[in-house]
Symmetry: C2
Subunit: 214 residues, 2 copies
DNA sequence: CGTTAATAGATATTTTAATATCAATATAAA
DNA sequence: TTTATATTGATATTAAAATATCTATTAACG
């Protein structure tokens, strides 16, 4: 295939958790933090945290730790979350509405500027402050506002068609919450969230706790 | 720490996607499948699929492939999804409601039998067919029905307290959708879903597509 | 029947991630 | 000041995951 290989993906996946904790710490008035502290909070080893932070290019002070502010800035910059990016959301069903109501995205520099659906009773309304437009207008509005991220929460049957609309609208990255494996042209990023993956891991861990390793 | 080390976690995380596709294939009337076919659908390499399936203990036939039925059964058994397990859900807000409405859980042998909340206007109602009870009754009902999984979707401020209620009710595994890093006794499994992890990965991939590697 | 292509399974290899070790630095306590 | 402790950063090591290679098996086709 295929997508140039992205390295240190496990580290990248942990960065948002560090970022969240660091924001809390800043709010609490801490200005310094050690990897031991961050690790304890996440139940992982300090060495893992240190290696993870390394990829952002931030440096700490031996014997002391890192400046909370610097660390937050470094993580945000590395992830491209230092400037807000705008996103569209397609499918204002229960999951879509939940995502529209999710406050945390602001911390991640993501702003959902419009939602799209086909249900006549939703079009023209606002969900958690976000206006719902007719799905067919997605490409037009996407182009108009130069949106490059799309959040896909439609039923499986229309997932591919709506993804195509997003691509038509110039969207470069699709956050795919459907169960469909999308086919997209070269250069379009798809990030699929499979909620059952977490359940699978939990199921295995639980079996271990209940029965030990078979 | 610290959780005995669980191996092949990446493989475990991919199993639900295979399972989903296999169920579709069975519905379409296919009885055989090759790793090439499954891999193509998920945009990964066939060798990865073969190694993943290996952990379930299933065997295929050289030159032919696997029996779809056998494969489904093997994956379900490995994940403990061959018998339905019952779960409770705490926090019937927008995310909790979305999860209550999620159909896919049936495929994964998960049944949410009750929801809990503190909001007086929700208690006694049904959300997607699931009755909402007063949060304080969680331990009592959990014990009564011998539930061992809890789904946590409450606001951060009450997350630890509600997790404690779950543990009091005999729950052994908590699927944690909050931003809080829970503290739990030995033997309790916590699976935390950090939605921003996927966004972080997507952000890095997008940077690569837009700018190339820095 | 013989040939070709596709496949699983076994094993080996490579790549990547996690972890350990150690030196240098800073802080706090004695 | 001295000592003990905690820290980062660099390097080395180990463990795990991904990938390659090869063999035996099967089906399809001429």
């Amino acid at each position: 295939m295929n997508n140039a290989r992205i390295q240190k993906l496990p580290s990248i996946r942990r960065l948002p958790s560090y970022l969240h904790r660091l924001n809390e710490m800043r709010f609490e008035g801490c200005d310094k933090v050690s990897t031991t502290l961050l690790a304890g909070h996440m139940n992982i080893e300090p060495i893992v945290v240190r290696k993870d932070l390394e990829i952002t290019g931030v440096t700490g002070q031996p014997g002391v730790g890192y400046q909370v502010d610097e660390l937050i800035a470094a993580i945000k910059k590395f992830l491209g979350w230092d400037n807000t990016s705008e996103a569209l959301l397609a499918g204002a069903g229960s999951l879509g509405s939940a995502l529209l109501g999710y406050q945390g995205f602001e911390d991640y520099g993501l702003k959902i500027i419009a939602a799209f659906d086909t249900a006549a009773d939703k079009i023209g309304t606002r969900i958690h402050g976000c206006e719902v437009f007719e799905l067919a207008r997605l490409p037009e509005l996407s182009r108009k506002f130069h949106v490059c991220m799309g959040i896909l929460c439609v039923p499986p049957a229309s997932a591919q068609a709506v993804a195509d609309l997003m691509i038509e609208g110039g969207i470069r990255a699709i956050w795919n919450f459907t169960s469909v494996s999308l086919q997209v042209p070269e250069g379009i990023v798809v990030q699929r969230e499979v909620i059952a993956s977490g359940l699978a891991v939990m199921s295995i861990k639980l079996q271990y706790e209940l029965n030990g390793w078979k």
